[in-house]
Assembly symmetry: C2
Homo-oligomer: 202 residues x 2
């Protein structure tokens, strides 16, 4: 039921319209796939604590415009803007090897949209592969909670297909046949290192 | 000469007291050693462009408290705070190997103060070494413009000495005997990869 104010404007619940809630839904605020991010942070914490790997999420890049320095207290950033990242979000070291990945989630059930990735991230992945790093993406289908590891080389071939005028997504069948399903656990929740071990014989 | 307003308060030139300028001098704003940071960014850009290595500076970690979403324009961060980084500032890949370092500058001429490093950065370096990564610090003596690469293992031994009650700095003599002087050039300005090649036979 819609409630209308006497002025004719529709009443909107503060919960569904407040800036804070909106912020959480905006993809630029890097909160799309919050659960995937939380799960990966927990996984990386587990790896760190158990000396399995040292992998961190990079901070969100921010362009700082104005900072206040109140006396006797911490500096306050009063104006800043989100910047587009020039790399992927996660990197680190596993058995001496450089590890680099991006994590993305979709609500789609039949395909994974390539628009989830940006051109500069694709460029970065190319550079990392060229330099001998281990590079991949972690894809989650939120409806089924399936999580896959797709090697960057494979992602790049789907990307090329799109550039050449082909489809703008990876079909679910292609994901099933070219990516690696990561079994979900309690701790770590998304044990992607297991797949890396298998793929690179580390 | 000091100029006073009729209210008795001293006139301060906007140039010397504005928040912006002050911000640049505050170490928490990560601008201490601005020139060293610029030189390293230029060096990393050179490495990236010439397919020598893929090494980036991590964004400054910021705790975002309030974001405004004006209609039809970019999200504006209205309140945020600087967070302490849990890792070092630079990392990436060179010939498949994980590279990790921190860069610091001092105005001292006879020693390099260890207070330039934080405990969590030291912990991170230990973890990286344990995982087989290549980890080091780049030290600059701003008065002489000398830049050195000191391997993290060596830094850790000076850190341990401090923890055990010893001196809180590395003497210049120790830097000269245990670190590696990086010759400065035009492009790249601080060719630290050359030292890495020499040390690790890559």
């Amino acid at each position: 039921m819609n409630i209308h104010y006497p002025n004719g404007r529709k009443f909107m619940s503060p919960l569904s319209t407040s800036q804070t809630v909106k912020a959480r839904k905006d993809p630029t605020y890097s909160n799309r796939g919050m659960t995937l991010e939380e799960d990966l942070n927990e996984t990386n914490d587990y790896y760190l604590l158990n000396n399995i790997a040292v992998i961190h999420k990079k901070p969100t890049p921010v362009q700082i415009v104005e900072v206040n320095y109140p006396k006797r207290s911490a500096a306050v950033i009063k104006e800043a803007y989100f910047k587009q990242a020039s790399t992927t979000d996660y990197n680190g070291v596993y058995k001496g090897k450089y590890i680099d990945f991006e994590a993305k989630e979709t609500k789609n059930t039949t395909s994974f949209p390539l628009q989830n990735f940006h051109d500069h991230q694709i460029q970065h992945m190319r550079k990392v592969i060229q330099q001998g790093g281990i590079c991949f993406v972690i894809l989650r289908f939120s409806s089924t909670e399936e999580v896959f590891l797709l090697e960057a080389e494979q992602l790049l071939s789907y990307w090329e297909r799109m550039i050449e005028g082909g489809r703008k997504s990876i079909t679910k069948e292609e994901v099933l046949s070219t990516a690696h399903l990561i079994s979900l656990g309690f701790r770590p929740r998304i044990d992607y290192i297991k797949i890396i071990d298998y793929l690179y014989h580390l």
